[in-house]
């Protein structure tokens, strides 16, 4: 199957180095301290940040910095076929870890010792690049929550197909 046509166009009409349409909105979850919806083309994710708040599990409390936790989950209807186990499978656990380590590196955790920052990300529509959309949404949600960060963290996925680099 031709993923890149002879004219240099992809299936959805994009050039190889062209990204999809980006849309974002913050403050969507009233109950959360910070929240954001991020859309990259048809991929749509929602992130909510709760914190800094008291650590639930005292044994995990860190005396010199904040504890950052992250949970990634996909909605049952997010992919083409209905998913049976949207949480707790290996892929979700791995992506949760990736997002946590990324955000932990950019949050100024030493400013909030003995506290906990929870980042919850929910994928509503999955059309590739969910990991990147989640990181972008998490950054916006953290900014909306007013949590001090070193800088914005943004993400985009890219790959090679038949020696043609493709973006997003």
């Amino acid at each position: 199957m031709e993923y890149v046509s002879p004219e240099g166009l992809r299936i959805d009409g994009r050039r190889p180095m062209e990204m999809r349409k980006l849309q974002a909105e913050i403050g969507v979850v009233a109950k959360a301290d910070g929240s954001a919806v991020f859309e990259m083309g048809n991929t749509k994710v929602i992130a909510a940040v709760y914190g800094p708040r008291e650590v639930q599990n005292r044994s995990q409390q860190l005396n010199d910095q904040a504890l950052v936790r992250c949970e990634y989950s996909m909605a049952n209807f997010s992919t083409g076929d209905r998913m049976r186990k949207p949480k707790g499978d290996r892929r979700s656990t791995e992506i949760s870890l990736v997002i946590r380590q990324t955000m932990e590196a950019c949050i100024l955790t030493q400013l909030m010792p003995r506290s906990q920052i929870d980042i919850y990300v929910q994928v509503l529509q999955a059309d590739g690049g969910t990991r990147s959309a989640c990181i972008n949404a998490a950054t916006l949600a953290l900014a909306d929550a007013g949590i001090p960060m070193r800088d914005f963290v943004t993400s985009c996925s890219a790959g090679y197909l038949n020696s043609t680099p493709l973006l997003g």
Binding site: V28, V29, A30, K31, A32, N42, I46, A47, A48, Y50, R53, Q56, R69, E71, S73, A75, N76, F77, S78, T79, G80, R82, D118, Y120, V121, Q122, L124, Q125, A126, D127
Partner: protein, 279 residues
């Protein structure tokens, strides 16, 4: 901060927000006795909003918001073998998901207790109202039938969860298309015959609060949910115990309020479906 007077009333000494957090019950009693927000003019504050077709990858979907409470419902259909004791019936599975994203009180590893309760309530209401005819979901008698998975995700939990969930479920079912099955070349559009509107009312002694927020729900002693269909017939009445007992007059009042609300919600759903883009 001054000392309390003889009645122990700190309110005159303290800032309003602090009083609201420390003595929620007294705050609401004073507020309600003075203002007409909740009972006489309930709906102008609790706005409902509905958007159909919110999820492109599903067979039917809707996003419903009542106040701040947000529910996203989506329907996925799969072919399955019908059970032996009802070979002509399809099946519906309803599940409400409450993840930690929706509220600070839901924690990972400790699922919300209210989610399976509402799932069951929804399932009972949808089936008993006759909104969906299971016989229409059958493809080949005894061999194949549609299984309809209704997943509702709570994105923001601020009270009246059942109402918002029911609103989103009804709006998701309304323009549902059953996909074409290549085996039989059969494709049908399911039209909802009766629309349902749910209504959650909380009761305090002599005080009814319609459509409570999360903060109000946490200090309520008892609540009652009334579900009516469009012709005003009672589909479901749910009052799960509590220290306050309901008099007939109170129940009748609640049903009358629900009737009024039904009309408003019907307009909202109709508007949502007509503005939805059909691919």
């Amino acid at each position: 901060m001054g000392t309390p007077n003889a009645v122990g009333d700190w309110s005159s000494e303290m800032e309003v927000n602090a009083f609201r957090r420390l003595f929620p019950l007294r705050y609401y009693e004073r507020h309600l006795s003075e203002s007409a927000r909740y009972y006489c003019v309930p709906w102008s504050v609790c706005l409902a909003f509905c958007l159909s077709g919110a999820v492109a990858s599903s067979d039917g979907s809707a996003l419903a918001k009542i106040g701040s409470t947000t529910m996203l419902a989506a329907i996925k259909m799969e072919v399955m073998t019908p059970p032996v004791d009802s070979p002509e019936d399809g099946s519906i599975a309803v599940e409400l998901h409450m993840h930690p994203i929706c509220s600070p009180v839901v924690r990972p590893g400790r699922p919300a207790e209210v989610a399976p309760v509402i799932s069951k309530q929804l399932f009972d209401s949808l089936l008993s109202s006759g909104m969906i005819d299971l016989k229409e979901l059958s493809l080949i008698k005894g061999k194949a039938a549609w299984m309809v998975y209704l997943d509702i995700y709570c994105l923001d939990a601020d009270g009246a969860l059942f109402d918002a969930a029911l609103l989103s479920a009804v709006a998701a079912f309304s323009p549902l298309h059953i996909p074409v099955v290549s085996l039989n070349d059969e494709g049908r559009m399911v039209m909802v015959s009766e629309e349902l509107e749910g209504e959650k009312l909380d009761k305090e002694p002599e005080l009814h609060l319609a459509d409570p927020t999360f903060e109000e729900e946490s200090i309520m002693e008892t609540f009652m949910t009334v579900v009516l269909n469009l012709s005003g017939q009672l589909v479901s009445l749910y009052k799960p115990g509590g220290p306050v007992l309901a008099h007939t007059s109170a129940i009748q009042e609640c049903v009358a309020l629900t009737r009024q609300r039904t009309k408003e919600l019907k307009e909202i759903i109709d508007e949502a479906i007509s503005t939805m883009q059909i691919d």
